[in-house]
Symmetry: D2
Amino acid sequence: MFKFDPNQSYQMPAHFGPRYIGEKSSGWYHDVTMMMVSYRTDREKLAAYLPAPFEVAEEAIITVYYACNKQVDWLAGHGYNMLGVNASVVYQGEKEQLKGSYSLVIWENLTDPILAGRELQGIPKIFADIPDHSVLNNDWQCNASHFGHKIIDLGITDLQPVSAADIAAQQEANADSDNPMGLRYMPAIGGFGPPAINQAVTFPSKSEFSEAYIGTGHIDWQQLTWEQNPTQFHIVNALKDLPVLEMLPAIVTRGKTNLILPERWSRPLA
Amino acid sequence: MFKFDPNQSYQMPAHFGPRYIGEKSSGWYHDVTMMMVSYRTDREKLAAYLPAPFEVAEEAIITVYYACNKQVDWLAGHGYNMLGVNASVVYQGEKEQLKGSYSLVIWENLTDPILAGRELQGIPKIFADIPDHSVLNNDWQCNASHFGHKIIDLGITDLQPVSAADIAAQQEANADSDNPMGLRYMPAIGGFGPPAINQAVTFPSKSEFSEAYIGTGHIDWQQLTWEQNPTQFHIVNALKDLPVLEMLPAIVTRGKTNLILPERWSRPLA
Amino acid sequence: MFKFDPNQSYQMPAHFGPRYIGEKSSGWYHDVTMMMVSYRTDREKLAAYLPAPFEVAEEAIITVYYACNKQVDWLAGHGYNMLGVNASVVYQGEKEQLKGSYSLVIWENLTDPILAGRELQGIPKIFADIPDHSVLNNDWQCNASHFGHKIIDLGITDLQPVSAADIAAQQEANADSDNPMGLRYMPAIGGFGPPAINQAVTFPSKSEFSEAYIGTGHIDWQQLTWEQNPTQFHIVNALKDLPVLEMLPAIVTRGKTNLILPERWSRPLA
Amino acid sequence: MFKFDPNQSYQMPAHFGPRYIGEKSSGWYHDVTMMMVSYRTDREKLAAYLPAPFEVAEEAIITVYYACNKQVDWLAGHGYNMLGVNASVVYQGEKEQLKGSYSLVIWENLTDPILAGRELQGIPKIFADIPDHSVLNNDWQCNASHFGHKIIDLGITDLQPVSAADIAAQQEANADSDNPMGLRYMPAIGGFGPPAINQAVTFPSKSEFSEAYIGTGHIDWQQLTWEQNPTQFHIVNALKDLPVLEMLPAIVTRGKTNLILPERWSRPLA
């Protein structure tokens, strides 16, 4: 008979034993290249996608980011690409208040981190084909598609380097207010009725940047039909409908990220 | 503020609204081609992977099956491939007893049904590259890999047609005893501690076969290291270690399957 | 020292020996599903893409076809998808005149037949991501993309079955006039200067249809930039610019095809 | 009527116009990461794969190399992976003698450079699935597969940095003797009979390394059947049969490469 070890961490299929955790499998992503495009959007329209007690922050900012992750320790040194969307929020809980970013959605091109992110951390990850970004004459481009139908084009041009001191200052300034948050939701069996899990979470991580560039961002969300993308069309259309009131400076970074911080573990918000 | 509609079905990200359910999105898989290879294995060794109150059935049978699913209504007519492993079991619950098959693992090459299967039905689906099967001179072959490393080769040769009457008789004989079951498991946030969900489930489906063939099956499980397949190596190695005591007749079928039966919904076992 | 056998057929790398040709490796494609959408276009504009002595046929017809090829003998029973474009032409050679179709381009999602088609037969095959077609409520859809950027959407709706007798009659009527032709072109080393090969070819094949349906076709060519598809943008844009003067009935077929006919071999046109 | 411009470079399909050559489309690969594993093999056995007048060099060395190519100008800033095999040779022509490397085969995971390499330069490129290399605790690994069946595993461990001065000295030492060569071969139409093209070529390129590491290499060629890899099994089996008499130091480099040198163009050997 299979028995769970209460000191281990499991994911389905659980009956073959716990997730491997060993010396080599840290939370480090040793080689991460990111593109980040931010814009101010309509406060009311953004609020329509935030479950209570999440509220839009002082400024209603959407950040669309692409990351090319390489040398990921828990994936035995393999990597994957992601394209996510964050909203600036404040969590107004009964017992705590937290400023940070709410994960509206993350597309990834590898299923393993999608399952781990959804089930262990409550991050709303779903799949898309995300080719490696292209770089041509200092113009950066990437895109995401599913079933052959484009979801988004993302580009950054006119990039200028940022000094190491500025990067460090920026990171320190954000240290306390950049809390990544989300809503962990698992339905009842069959999908209907009271959900099995419905809880706000925060999943801290830590990045160190070795290079940073600032430039001009461009985004182009597609309008999709159910026939084109039956599991995601409503997500893409909702994001397309959020108006771009003002584009903010776009950023390219190179560095490394640690997703498992022993001192600050993923946890439910109170 | 986003609010859940209690009459709808949601998956993460939930805040963009419920899963689309409409006229066109039934549970029908209209074009399903399957290869099924079964063998008798060691009773004790199989029992080591079954959580109570699942027990090995009278005969300790492993069935490895590949399915090429086309014209899937809820995927807007798209398809995907799967390669799964079932064990013959009896569920010995406090309130009910059920004979059927326990899903040890299912690899699929599309993330959308992986997420729906795990979260709505408790089926232990994970990702692999699964190319379409090949057919050459009536020899059928398929395989699955991840990160470039083979998981399994599956083949069926010497196929002979089975009469329509025999197919119908076989289906009727199995109607009451072929209950698909699994263990729906979701960890606590961060992965450690008492799980958020841990429940036995059954997820009925219904198949209609238009063609069937019987032949000789071949399987070849690989031995893998953590470096080769960091999220699945223990699963593949466990399956490789289950001894093949006797190969049973292998089967190829063509037909259609309905995964959503209004009269028999997925449900927790009691 | 490696020596060529004059009785064998080679492709690069040639020095490891000839292409395998054996009992199992016939030219049969045993399971072929096709979608064909035809339309009348502008005579002058089409003529601009035809090298002499190819001329536009009596009717200036473009046919865009998708094929899902399975059970391909020379690929050991594997398959692939293609999406090609033909023009109705007459070859007005010095020694022969031939009515048929000129291959403007074929996208395929597998490199092996691309290399064989280009080098052995002079068919202008190039690569695209071509997911399997979807079928939903009798609506058929497919598409092709490269580097994440869509090339074309192709659809057929309102399908009605065609009788077996009509299929046979149609095939017989076309038997003498449906000669597939192309221009085999290989540049000088480095690409510039007089080409190494520049010859008109015909590459006969033979199809047997078990099912056929007639319906209404839809095409949607994209406009692309060099940045989006640096090796193919000019091809896609040229095809988009060919006006659709009249849509003709669209066809879906199931059947099998033989690409290697001992009695009618691929040959240069005279 | 379509007409060729004698000052342009074309590839099939030629009738849509020449290959795009513009300001942005240089021969630069701006970001190239390479793994190189070399070993001494049996002189006689290697000679069996060299067409005259290529001869094995003083030392019979095989080099298996992987390259992760990013920021490729002619691909509008996209990239691809390759895994190639070189032999140390001397070209003993009637009019010239050249020391360098003979390209036995190159697998690439993108069709565009496969077609350009074969047709413009005579490089024997073919397709394989080549995932990005993994790096874990300074161990580098990569692999290649086709139709789900592994071709080779390549690894380098115990890496130590090489000084910039050593890199420069090494490059200067090799400047005159590292001529890349191959056999450009195109069959007659249909594949049989005297070939349309059969000529020895050299295709110079130039690399600049910013980092280099030296370590211990590992290779593991697979044995394949026609059923597993119908177009390449004989290539893989031939390479597996070349004995490894002595492993030489393995190398990892980062840098950039230019494949189009105006001062040294690809050319036929005399």
